[in-house]
Amino acid sequence: MEPITQLRSKTVVIANSDIDTDQIIPARFLTTTDQDGLGKYVFADWRFDDKGDSIEDFVLNKTEANDCGVLVAGHNFGCGSSREHAAWALRDFGFRAVVSTSIADIFRSNALKNGIVPVEVNDDTHQWLLANPRCEVTIDIGHSVLRLPNGTQCVFSIDSFARHCLLYGVDPLGYLLSQEQAISTYERSHPCGQ
C-alpha cells in the first residue's frame, strides 16, 4: 500500500444513517473472485433503476461527485455484512476517506486495509459537513485531524498501529509474519484442543 500522510479532497454527502454494506455493494455482485473493478457496483441499487438506467438525482450520479474523494455519511456507516468488497468498491470508485459520527467495526477494519481512512467526528463537525457538501477538507493522518474550510479542526481517533500502517505504507501481514517466533511458542504451549 502506498504511504499516505494527508488527504485533501472535496466531499460528497450521503446523509442516510445506518448505511449497510448491502447498500454499498449488493450481494449479487459478490460472485467475483477478484477485488478489482468493483467501483461500478458501488451503491448500485441507489444509482440505477430496475432497467439499469442512472437515477439522476442520486448524488453519486452527478458530475459534481466525480472529483470527490471523501464520503460524508450518516451515523453508523458500513454496518452489516463483513464483505470487504464494500471497501474495494468504494476505493475503486475513488473514495479515500469516509466521515461519519460512527463507523461499524468490521467495515472500519476493512477500510483501513485498503487505504480508506475512517474518520469519526463529533456531531457539530458532522452537521457542518452534511450542510456543506462539496467542501474541500484536509485529513491530516499524522495528527489525526480533519480540517474544514472554515478553519475548524476536528481531532479524530485512529488506532496508532493503523495510522502507522497508513503513514508508512506498512502491510499488517508483514508485521504478523514477523511474529512467527511468538506464534510458534504459543502453539507449543497450547497444543490442539488445550
Partner: protein, 467 residues
C-alpha cells in the same frame, strides 16, 4: 491481576494472546478454528499465492460452500450452470486442494451453512477462538467461543499466520431474566434486544448474554440469539457453556472422547464470568412480557410486537425512508397485511428445532393461495433428520418448496430471491433494502410467525394458531 474477577470474554481473550497489545501495536490473537466459504476467500488465497505463502495450519481450517450454492437438487447435483457462482465454487475447490484444507463440497453429506455446520460437527467448542469471513460468525458464541467475522484481508492473515491483529474490545453484559411466553422464541428476544439497544448499540463491544432466560434455552435458541449480535453492531456475542452445551456437544465427530472429553468439560466449566467481574456496560432485560416480534423497516432495529403499530414520526428521515421503501404508512398495524413469500431458513433460524416449530404450526394446514414458501434447512444433516422425522413431508404437503441446504434467500446470491416490491416474511437476519432481492421488502420474524404468515397469507400472530 491474575486473581481479579474476570468476564468470560476476558478469560477467552487472555487465553489466546500470542502477544499483548501495547499503545503502538495491537494484540496478536491466536485463532483456533478458521471457517472459510466460497465468497470471501478467493482473494485471500490469491494474496497468499502472490506472496508465496502457505496455509500455516490447514488442519485448523474448515471450508464449506453455502452462499452462492443452488438449493434445487437438480441444479446442485446435475451440475451448476457455467457462470460466476460456479467459478467461485470451482475456485474454492482448487484452493482447498492446493493448500490442503478439508472441504465439505457440494456432494458432502455434512455440508451446510458454515455457522450451522461448525457446531453440528463439534468443531465449535467452548473457550476457543473462531473466525470466518462472514459477520454471522457471532453464532458460535453460543458455545462460549469468542467468534467474530473478519474481512478478506484478515482471512489471508489467518490463513498465513493462524493469528489476527486485534485491539481488545469492550464488554457489554445483557442480563435477561424471566421466562419467554408460549410461542415467543429466541428470535423474538434478540429482535427485542436489538430494538432496545439499536443497530449500533453493540459497536466496539463483545456482548455476553446471561440470566435465566438464556440458561433455559436450547443450543439452537442460543445460536439464534448470538447470531444476531452483529445486527446490534457487536463484535461478537457470548453465552457461558453449561450442561446444555456439553449435552449438545458430546459425541459430535470433532469433539474429544473418553477421558479427553472429561478433561475438556472440566476446563469448560471454568468458562463463566466471575462473581464481581465488571462489564464496560450492562443492561437488564425482562423476557416475560415479550410478544412475538416483527420488523417493519429496513434494519433489524426497526421492530415491534406483532400486535403493534408501525411508529409515526414525521421528523425521522431514516424511518420515513424505510417506510417509503417498505410501502407502509406510519401508524399502520402490520397484522393482516398480505404477503407474497415466506422464507424459513438461514444461519439464524434453519436448525432442526426451528423447522419443528414451523412444522407444528403448519401440520394439517396449507400454504395460502398466492403465497410462495421456501423451506431451506441449515445443513444436509438437518435436511436428513427433518425428512426422517416427517417435518419435510409437512412442508411439502402444505405446498411449500423443500430444498437442499444453503444461505439461499437470506442473501439471494444463488437464484433464490424475493421479487421487486414483493413482501416476504423471513426467518433470516437482515431486512436491509434489496437484501432478499432487488426491491424486495422483508419482515424479519421467528419460524412460528413465518409459518403463521404462510398459512394465512398475511402477517399473523402465531399464538392464534397454537393452543
Amino acid at each position: 491481576m491474575e486473581n481479579s474477577p474476570k468476564t468470560l470474554f476476558e478469560k477467552v481473550w487472555e487465553d489466546h494472546l500470542v502477544t499483548s497489545e501495547t499503545e503502538e501495536t495491537p494484540a496478536v490473537l491466536y485463532v483456533d478454528l478458521h471457517l472459510i466459504h466460497e465468497v470471501t476467500s478467493p482473494q485471500a488465497f490469491s494474496s497468499l499465492r502472490e506472496r508465496g505463502l502457505r496455509v500455516r495450519r490447514p488442519e485448523r481450517t474448515l471450508a464449506t460452500m453455502d452462499h452462492s450454492t443452488p438449493t434445487r437438487a437438480d441444479v446442485l447435483y446435475g451440475g451448476m450452470p457455467k457462470g460466476a457462482a460456479q467459478n467461485q465454487i470451482a475456485t474454492l475447490e482448487g484452493n482447498c486442494k492446493e493448500f490442503g484444507i478439508e472441504l465439505y463440497d457440494l456432494k458432502s453429506k455434512q455440508r451446510g451453512i458454515v455457522h450451522v455446520m461448525g457446531p453440528e460437527l463439534g468443531a465449535t467448542q467452548p473457550g476457543s477462538t473462531i473466525v470466518c469471513g462472514d459477520s454471522h460468525t457471532s453464532t458460535h458464541g453460543a458455545f462460549g467461543a469468542l467468534a467474530f467475522g473478519i474481512g478478506t484481508t484478515e482471512v489471508a492473515h489467518v490463513l498465513a499466520t493462524q493469528s489476527l491483529l486485534q485491539r481488545k474490545p469492550k464488554t457489554l453484559g445483557i442480563n435477561i431474566k424471566g421466562t419467554l411466553g408460549k410461542s415467543v422464541t429466541a428470535k423474538d428476544l434478540i429482535l427485542a434486544i436489538i430494538g432496545k439497544i439499536g443497530v449500533d448499540g453493540g459497536t466496539g463491544h463483545v456482548i455476553e448474554y446471561r440470566g435465566d432466560a438464556i440458561s433455559a434455552m436450547s443450543m439452537d435458541a442460543r445460536m439464534t440469539v448470538c447470531n444476531m449480535s452483529i445486527e446490534a453492531g457487536a463484535r461478537a456475542g457470548l453465552i457461558a457453556p453449561d450442561e446444555t452445551t456439553y449435552h449438545y456437544l458430546e459425541g459430535r465427530p470433532m469433539c474429544p472422547t473418553g477421558t479427553d472429553w472429561d478433561h475438556a468439560v472440566a476446563r469448560w466449566q471454568q468458562l463463566k464470568t466471575d462473581e464481581g467481574a465488571a462489564f464496560d456496560k450492562e443492561i437488564h432485560f425482562d423476557a416475560t412480557a415479550l410478544e412475538p416480534m416483527i420488523t417493519y423497516g429496513t434494519n433489524p432495529g426497526m421492530m415491534m410486537p406483532i400486535t403493534g403499530r408501525v411508529p409515526a414520526n414525521e421528523g425521522d428521515a431514516a424511518l420515513n425512508r424505510a417506510l417509503d421503501y417498505m410501502g407502509i404508512a406510519p401508524g399502520e398495524p402490520l397484522m393482516g397485511r398480505p404477503i407474497d413469500v415466506v422464507f424459513v431458513g438461514s444461519c439464524t433460524n434453519a436448525r432442526l428445532s426451528d423447522l419443528r416449530q414451523a412444522a407444528v404450526l403448519m401440520a394439517g394446514r396449507r400454504v395460502a393461495s398466492g403465497v410462495r414458501m421456501l423451506v431451506v434447512p441449515g445443513s444436509q444433516e438437518i435436511k436428513r433428520r427433518a425428512e426422517a422425522e416427517g417435518l419435510a413431508q409437512v412442508f411439502v404437503d402444505a405446498g411449500a418448496e423443500w430444498r437442499e441446504s444453503g444461505c439461499s434467500m437470506c442473501i439471494a446470491m444463488n437464484g433464490d430471491s424475493v421479487g421487486p416490491g414483493q413482501y416476504a416474511v423471513s426467518t433470516s437476519n437482515r431486512n436491509f433494502e434489496g437484501r432478499q432481492g432487488t426491491g424486495a421488502r422483508t419482515f424479519l420474524a421467528s419460524p412460528l410467525t413465518a409459518a403463521a404468515a404462510a398459512v394465512s397469507g398475511c402477517i399473523s400472530d402465531p399464538r392464534q394458531f397454537l393452543n
